[in-house]
């Protein structure tokens, strides 16, 4: 039976600069990394810059990856998210409407990794439904924090609502999604 190398095995090859495994690693993750960067920065040249820098950081800091703390894909996407948020701040990009992002993430169009150990596609659909079902103010606060890196205080200033209210909205939304994930497990 043919078995694709695990994400971790490809990361190991990428970290050592082995050309063929490095190419396989980039090929496996480039669509996800570029997709997330586009979701946040909205401009293809900047998204490409973010995606390229994400792989450069991964190459330089592969030794910091700790499989006990999470999957390769989520580690990679966290790096991409932070870089994309930095770019939106540095380049003062126009803020994206959180509802646009919420709509995009609720559409099923994923390409799962070879040994994706997270949710199955139908479980991910249920998570999407749970996000869609959130009250508007909770969904907005969640997207602003999870995708756009806004702190609770920034959201409070942006939406002109008390800080405590923002924290409660985010917490309530996250509890609903956590409960959804626990049901799926």
């Amino acid at each position: 039976m043919d078995v694709d190398p695990s994400d971790e095995a490809l990361l190991a090859g990428f970290a050592t600069g082995h050309p063929r495994t490095a190419a396989a690693f980039v090929r496996r993750f480039q669509g996800r990394v570029y997709g997330l960067a586009m979701t946040i920065v909205r401009q293809p040249p900047i998204a490409e810059e973010v995606a390229q820098e994400t792989f450069a950081r991964v190459y330089r800091h592969a030794g910091n990856y700790d499989a006990r703390k999470g999957r390769v894909s989520t580690w990679l996407l966290s790096i991409a998210r932070n870089l994309a948020i930095d770019q939106t701040r540095m380049k003062r990009l126009d803020p994206v409407d959180p509802e646009v992002i919420a709509a995009e993430i609720s559409i099923e169009n994923q390409v799962p990794g070879a040994d994706e150990v997270g949710l199955q596609p139908d479980e991910r659909d249920q998570l999407r439904s749970a996000i869609t079902d959130l009250p508007d103010d909770q969904r907005r606060a969640l997207v602003l924090s999870a995708y756009m890196g806004r702190t609770a205080r920034e959201i409070s200033d942006l939406d002109d609502v008390p800080l405590g209210t923002v924290k409660t909205r985010i917490r309530t939304a996250m509890i609903k999604l956590r409960d959804e994930l626990e049901v799926l497990e």
């Binding site: 970290a15 600069g17 063929r20 997709g35 996407l77 995708y147 917490r171």
Partner: protein, 223 residues
């Protein structure tokens, strides 16, 4: 409930999203370092935060993206070594020249090893290893990567000129047991990988061979 636990749990979701700032964050991190229950609570929310990022739409990367990344990051291929060297030198100079030649021959491996050691140092030396795959006459014909984890993996990469006819892969462990790798099948590019049922640290040799067992390539783990 301990008031510090209560405070930390109330902000667990926001901590997982990385949006708690200043003193509040400092207090929470200090408490998390000593409270496994609160840590477990934050980890549950971290799983949610991870899944949220995985929902972002997959998009086709721009044409040539892969090449641009690899060209920027990977060292250029080493020029091919001359196969024969004619040395007419005094004995001492010849010894120095021989040392220099050995260094030149192994330097790509040394660079790789150095890069690896850096990676391993940061990863407590547990996760990644690579070994030379050698053929007849001890020629370098590929690389074997091992990863220690759950599960542990090896990825085998055979140079195109040496890959034909290889149909079997087998691990030999330190106690002499032989573990056939049934998933082994080289793809057209000479690669094959899969999980292994033993700790890579207990493997002494990986052996590739043809159906008749006539051609054998060997990677010595620990080399």
């Amino acid at each position: 409930m301990d008031p510090r636990c209560q405070e930390t749990r109330e902000m667990a979701a926001n901590l997982a999203l990385g949006i708690v700032e200043g003193e509040e964050r400092g207090r929470a991190l200090q408490h998390l370092a000593e409270c496994p229950e609160c840590r477990a609570e934050v980890e549950k929310f971290s799983d949610v935060a991870d899944e949220l990022l995985l929902l972002a739409p997959h998009r086709e990367a721009p044409v040539g993206f892969e090449s641009r990344v690899l060209n920027e990051l990977l060292p250029p291929p080493q020029p091919k070594r001359r196969r024969r060297l004619r040395l007419v030198l005094a004995p001492a100079a010849a010894a120095l020249a021989a040392a220099a030649i050995v260094l030149a021959i192994v330097s790509p491996d040394l660079r790789l090893a150095s890069h690896y050691r850096h990676t391993l140092d940061q990863a407590n030396g547990r996760e990644f290893e690579s070994y030379a795959l050698r053929g007849p006459g001890d020629t370098h014909v590929g690389t074997v990567f091992s990863y220690e984890g759950s599960p542990s993996w090896v990825h085998i990469d055979v140079d195109p000129g040496a890959s034909s006819g290889l149909t079997q892969a087998k691990l030999v462990t330190d106690d002499g047991s032989q573990v056939p790798l049934r998933w082994f099948h080289l793809d057209p590019a000479g690669g094959s990988g899969g999980s292994i049922p033993v700790d890579p640290h207990h493997v002494s040799v990986l052996r590739l061979s043809g159906a008749s067992g006539s051609r054998t390539l060997i990677a010595k783990f620990g080399d």
